[in-house]
Symmetry: none
Amino acid sequence: MRARSRRGLEPRKTPVQARAEATVGAISEAAIQILLSHGLDRLTTTRVAERAGVSVGTLYQYYPNKQSLLLAVLASHLDNVATAVEAACEQARGQSLAAMISAVVNAFVDAKMERADVALALYQFAADLRWPALVKQVGQRSRKALEAVLQTAPDLTSPPDAFAIEMMSAAMVGTTRYVLEAGAPPAMVRSLRSQLATLCHAYMKANTN
Amino acid sequence: MRARSRRGLEPRKTPVQARAEATVGAISEAAIQILLSHGLDRLTTTRVAERAGVSVGTLYQYYPNKQSLLLAVLASHLDNVATAVEAACEQARGQSLAAMISAVVNAFVDAKMERADVALALYQFAADLRWPALVKQVGQRSRKALEAVLQTAPDLTSPPDAFAIEMMSAAMVGTTRYVLEAGAPPAMVRSLRSQLATLCHAYMKANTN
Amino acid sequence: MRARSRRGLEPRKTPVQARAEATVGAISEAAIQILLSHGLDRLTTTRVAERAGVSVGTLYQYYPNKQSLLLAVLASHLDNVATAVEAACEQARGQSLAAMISAVVNAFVDAKMERADVALALYQFAADLRWPALVKQVGQRSRKALEAVLQTAPDLTSPPDAFAIEMMSAAMVGTTRYVLEAGAPPAMVRSLRSQLATLCHAYMKANTN
Amino acid sequence: MRARSRRGLEPRKTPVQARAEATVGAISEAAIQILLSHGLDRLTTTRVAERAGVSVGTLYQYYPNKQSLLLAVLASHLDNVATAVEAACEQARGQSLAAMISAVVNAFVDAKMERADVALALYQFAADLRWPALVKQVGQRSRKALEAVLQTAPDLTSPPDAFAIEMMSAAMVGTTRYVLEAGAPPAMVRSLRSQLATLCHAYMKANTN
DNA sequence: CATGAATGAGGTTTCATTCAT
DNA sequence: TATGAATGAAACCTCATTCAT
């Protein structure tokens, strides 16, 4: 797969007939399946189409190229996570700092873990530095929500600055990724939520004092 | 690049002559250069050989296949980092927890940052799940050293368990990676050392109290 | 585009309703537009249909395949030219040789130049040796007309034989094509008419003396 | 085959080993063979390689893409023709106008006819307007030579201007092409030389009087 | 030991054409 | 009749790897 200019990564056409809608769904689901079962570099457009039960041509009716397909899958995953974080932030308004952070971390980890395998598979090509835009933008959504909710914490005299929030996000996301990728023992994965909450909370306290 | 059995990833022959040593050095350096200038999926064995000033055939005299070459490059980088961390641990024996963590974090970040571009380039394929062994093993070295030094901290009543150390490592490594990959603003990169030290220290304190 | 047997090149059905007539017109016009804007190898049936404002399916209701569409477009153009030449011949009856040739050449060049861009675009596939029949046949019409009118030239003792007429036609058509394709300077294109008349007339005189 | 930017049309590497030299020869010869036997749009790189007795990969070691291969074949043909014309001009210095033109026309037609089939096949893609540069440049060579020799004609009071020479060239080249493409009767092809000489000479005389 | 020409499986993508709706 | 989703053969091109020189 060759790097390509920023153009042409958008899905090609929006399905208008019902049949078509089912097709795009099948294709992106198939992409995930292949990613899981074969890995990124065994994922070929032909194989995806085959698994989806359509012909390659059909795949290319909806995605202008292989990258755009993968990008769509990644975007969908990231969107899920960001949405979960946003919802958690919304619900945690006015609670204590510890409760807030716990809520956010739980939401994040849950969202990642729900399809940990998919997340793991997606990391493989999210590393590709050619698409920082998408990842950045989704990270931004989470940070915005986080910043907003932290302003409502009663036990914070001065709300943390954007910098600290970015650092905490980095810790949350980066640590989770590392733990997932390292194939950490189940015990660790299980206690990731609480440990991560401890970590983030400790950092925030240390940082705002 | 095709997945391959775990055999055949070792460098093919140990260069005994000086000339041969120079050759392997040139090849792995060339691989890094290509990784930086062209990216992983434009890195071809022919290109690497060309940049190294040798023929493809020669490359294959020292590395049985492409993966083994990349693996060697990655191993070398990880080894540098682990060695730096170990040295820092050695030097920090008997100091306060804060000083220890600061020393380790600084050593780690410095080692990563010294060739941040290389680290970034290597992330591209370190994600490939087919080589978790190497990463795990090198991580283990750091954790061992960390565990040992923490036992000498005078201000720690009970030394942290392996679990906490693993978590802290994950935070250190994962957060650094995230910050590097996110293309974070220079200000953030610059203060990464101190923030990361704060974070790790706060976590350790929270965890051992 | 695959070569295909000589069958199936005729337009599929003669449009009887007004709406249908408009459709075929739109399609062939669209084909020309695409030819001009995208070139022959970017001309796809889907694109033509889209530009014509109909669906591919509709296109295939009127043309059995892509070749037949292109053929229709070419035939139409050639017919225009042949008709213009015939008309000029008709009008030039009884005039001097010089006047006749001038009239014919002018008519020919004018017809080509009127849509020089289209002519140029059509050359792209007229070269395809699989359709010589059409070109031959239309050339024949012109030559017939030319032969007839030359018989009425008062200043020709013996009318030129078919051979000379064919040669002159070849010169007229071939030279024009060359000049158009060479992207000759405007000055040359502008004086093409007179120079071509000179050339043809000189040849005829040299040949009949 | 997609249109492509002006880059990457140069042959990829010059063969250094003897074996390689034979290979490139075999490949371009094979391209001609396929062009003759299958036509332009049945000419695939795989087929050419197969006919040449090498693998596709080998073909792509010497030509960066399909176009460059065809271009090389075309360039070689055009070069032959231009060289023949230049040689004829050189030999005709100081002769009469009629003799000069006859020599040039004969040389040109002979060069084209020697491999009339190849010339015909090449016309198919020479029409492709994306490479006017090559054709123009070779035409220029012929015209330069023609201009030079015409200055030495003793029976020309004033040598013809560049314009007239260009027109005559257009007539020579265009007419020959038309005759070849039209699948003219053998009789015509046979007398093409003399008729074309007559035509060019008559034009030149008419033009310089 | 080094060279680099050769290999060829396999990847991505296009597009003329069909046919169920 | 019109639509446009689906098809799938087939094209171009890459690149890890081998092996004769």
